[in-house]
Symmetry: C2
Subunit: 555 residues, 2 copies
């Protein structure tokens, strides 16, 4: 079997001006980064406003399992399928984080014959966006401690600084540290830590901003800590927002690459999918919608988290109106949601598929609550039997939606032509999209709405301290923000072992955090790790260059 | 008066293929990074070996003063002057560090009409090389703590880990920290810290490597700490060298930009000039020498430090044979070396110039000890009087060298034509270059040789601990390494207030460090700061974008 890496390396990439020309992007609107990557110039993007907006298709999935669903692969495959049936299509994906590739092996953007390339560069420094996010984040960190060192005119309570530092590296030693040791010239010692760069609120700000002005305003609103009287101290008060936006000037311009079949792909931004909203940038999606007739994008995790945040945070805030949602399922993953262990996936098990379809059915029903038409994509594996596939089709039909069999992993865009035709049909009527809750609903009520309507929880548990914090934020003017839930991706509940479609559980809130710059309140339900560690034998130990100078061990 | 920034912004940059064509670099050997920067492809560089080597000219300076000498400006001006008189010339400079620009304002590469552009990008992320160095450095850091966390098979003594972490940011809070707090899953707490990225030994390795294989070998040799029995633990034992070289694959390819007059400029690498050797990369210099007939480069600080390290570390290790040295002086700086305060520089003071010329004379004499022909460049300021200039000329002539008046700051390359002609004449005969001391001289004797012959010290002071350490390293096979002295740049002595040409002083060694990967022993004489802090009012507070989206406050 040919690996993703072999397929990607065997591909002949088309020159970037040729890819851009498919969307009528003139060559002088491209800023080259190497030979197979380019940024789209801000001035060109600013001139697109008056154009018509294309159709926006979200690719989401059932609750993920170790069996794999293939959400990104389907996003790429659908883009290529739309191109093949003669539509002007583009894909929008997130960028990959560099650090984690040195722990576990890096990944393709997609898989098989449905990939975005150049694969190696996209797993390494790419166009430097994440380095820029890190630099902007850490400049603010340095300026906070510097402000206190030189007299603390803002009267920041050093015990209540919430702004940490970031690094795009899996480094557990930096999770919990004491800084400013060594005497007077090094400042005031205090406890803090590092997160991985993708967990930075700067990343979320970058990904939700319309333009540089919007970005600077968001950065300025970031709350970095509190005074003794609990009043918030912002990034603008520290005076870092201007310099940060200068550091992010190039990073805000979306990156253009290509699929193996030459479909234009905007790969831009990569906020965490737990403590942030987990979607590619608004500016990339909006630019793509002005340039293509069909824009296919994805959101992190299963539809309960990814699609909900895509709709309630990204679409709400950016004024996007998605026209359709594709829920990706595999027979294997449905079996696991139906209670089968990973080791037993080889055998046909129609009953387990039917049981697992409870998960699929609920995600379909949830999507409809946003007014978005749904189609199910069955990402076919060779071992899937006809009866298993028929069970999935039947479950989808019971929800009034079609399930389309897709073979893009093996066949590229030729394997998603039927799905592409279905998407064209589904998106003919104007979008009826509406977010789940209004802006002016109280914060706790928003959380309860998501918990009961999307997760089918019976109630939400929050202690008094959390309730007080939510009320304090409402009093401080943050009550109109949407909610960003950080919970396990493996279940509708907060318990990762509850697969399928659990109901009647309690959603326990462990902690709440304010992302005032990005513009949401983070609700943490369970253990959330914002700085990964390296395993006993990190991938880095075997990564290197071979005699021909090619990278080995990264994939 | 027009500022450097205004001049740089008013410039019309030529397309990179046009700049490359001046050195017969084909367009397909260029990897574009934006519109006005490119990297030179490794495969193209590998094919240059058989070509003839051009003339190498080092621009160095008298002992620096707050009056300014204009070493980079003269490097750029001389490159443009050589181009103007019809020579195929190239310039090699270091890259600027990003972090410090947010403390004090950033700087031009050169000044007036002798600048390298694009100025803004070169002060920000440029082509991402420094971010790559930081990532490679911090991957090794994470792998060291990870190794100990998972059982410490190498038996590293956690108290003797010398490898720190780096960030390209002025952040005093990170100088001295305790990591791995928070319990079992975060590792073993220990004290360590961050340096600024340019202080990383990875940067020095990158800048001294011939190619990727050489780079990986150097990285592998880095000593990261010691066992209880004092035996060194290397990066190769940690298993990080392969992954680090993958992270540095693109960064090792030299960056090509241009002067305001279109002379090709290789701007690549930027090791600290105190604890490292302070020169641009070997690979850039060697590539330039194969592509141009005259290559003008510079070294950090005054000639006692910069030129000495350029000759004894970079040229020795890379097999470079410099053909001439330009010692840059200004009347103002000579006056300060002659005892005048900065506030009194306005008035003519021939006696002070004459007194300060003792400094110039010693630097000239020192350059001759390396067998390199010397010319003095007087970087003219408008307030300089004819008598003051005559005094400089006379002092140079007393050493048997010519002093050439240059007006490149005001006139660009037209202001250095005389200097360029002089360089052509001086470099006609083959290089007689030889380093100051042989490889096999004992380490202490090498230090004494530099101290007495270059600094005119009468002796070197080192306590028993330092002497033992030097002997231990000799026993471990590091005795053949050259010496990299870290001392004040303002004096031949270790006392920054002793301007002019002091003699008979003692050079006190405070600490010695092994840079086994870069390949030198660092001898620290005095206080050396490897992580700067931000001032009370950092430049970052006023940096931002104006209404037209242009960067303000950075310069």
């Amino acid at each position: 079997m040919t690996s993703d890496l072999e397929i990607a390396r065997a591909a002949t990439l088309r020159p970037m001006p040729e890819i851009a020309a498919k969307l009528d992007i003139p060559e002088d609107a491209l800023i080259p980064y190497g030979r197979d990557k380019a940024k789209l110039e801000a001035e060109f993007i600013a001139g697109l406003d008056a154009r018509e907006t294309g159709k926006l298709i979200l690719v989401t999935a059932i609750s993920p399992t170790p069996a794999g669903e293939g959400k990104t692969t389907t996003t790429v495959g659908l883009g290529d399928g739309l191109s093949r049936i003669g539509k002007r299509a583009a894909i929008c994906l997130r960028e990959a984080s560099l650090g984690p590739n040195f722990g576990m092996k890096g990944g393709a953007a997609g898989g098989g014959y449905a990939q975005v390339v150049p694969m190696e560069s996209m797993n390494l420094h790419f166009t430097g966006d994440f380095h820029a996010v890190g630099a902007a984040h850490n400049l603010l960190s340095a300026m906070i401690d510097n402000h206190i060192h030189w007299g603390n005119a803002l009267e920041i309570d050093a015990r209540r600084i919430t702004w940490r530092r970031v690094l795009d590296m899996n480094d557990r030693a930096l999770r919990d540290i004491v800084v400013s040791l060594g005497g007077v010239s090094n400042g005031f010692p205090r406890q803090t830590g590092f997160d991985i760069t993708v967990a930075s609120e700067v990343m979320a700000c970058l990904c939700l901003s319309r333009d540089l002005t919007d970005l600077q305003e968001r950065l300025g609103r970031i709350v970095v800590g509190y005074r003794r009287d609990r009043s918030p101290v912002t990034c603008a008060e520290i005076g870092a927002d201007g310099a940060m936006v200068v550091l992010l000037k190039d990073a805000l311009q979306p990156n253009l690459v290509q699929t193996l079949e030459g479909t234009p792909a905007f790969v831009h931004g990569g906020p965490f999918a737990n403590i942030a909203h987990g979607c590619n940038s608004v500016i990339a999606t909006q630019s793509a919608l002005k340039l293509a007739d069909y824009v296919v994008t994805e959101a992190g995790f299963g539809a309960d988290l990814g699609a909900e945040k895509f709709f309630d945070i990204k679409c709400r805030k950016a004024g996007l109106s998605p026209n359709a949602a594709v829920v990706v399922a595999t027979v294997r993953a449905l079996k696991m949601n139906g209670g089968v262990a990973k080791t037993d996936l080889g055998a046909e098990n129609v009953a387990a598929v039917e049981a697992g379809c409870a998960n699929l059915a609920r995600h379909i029903a949830n999507m409809k609550k946003f007014g978005v038409p749904v189609v199910v994509a069955i990402n076919r594996f060779t071992a899937d039997t006809e009866d298993e596939i028929a069970a999935v089709r039947a479950a989808a039909e019971a929800q009034g939606v079609e399930a389309v069999l897709c073979t893009h992993w093996a066949d590229g865009g030729a394997g998603t032509e039927a799905l592409a035709e279905k998407i064209v049909a589904l998106t003919e009527r104007p979008s009826q999209f509406a977010p789940l809750y209004p802006d002016d609903m109280p914060l706790l009520e928003k959380i309860e709405t998501i918990a009961t309507r999307i997760y089918h929880a019976s109630d939400v548990y929050a202690d008094q301290k959390i309730l007080n914090q939510l009320r304090d934020w409402e009093a401080a003017g943050y009550g109109n923000l949407p909610i960003c839930v950080a919970k396990t991706q493996y279940s509708f509940s907060a318990d990762p072992t509850l697969r399928g479609a659990p109901s009647g559980h309690t959603l326990p809130i462990r902690e709440v955090r304010l992302s005032a710059g990005a513009g949401f309140v983070v609700v943490i339900c369970g253990e959330i790790m914002t700085m990964p560690g390296l395993p006993r034998h990190p991938a880095a130990e075997t990564i290197g260059l071979d005699a021909e100078g090619r990278i080995t061990g990264l994939f």
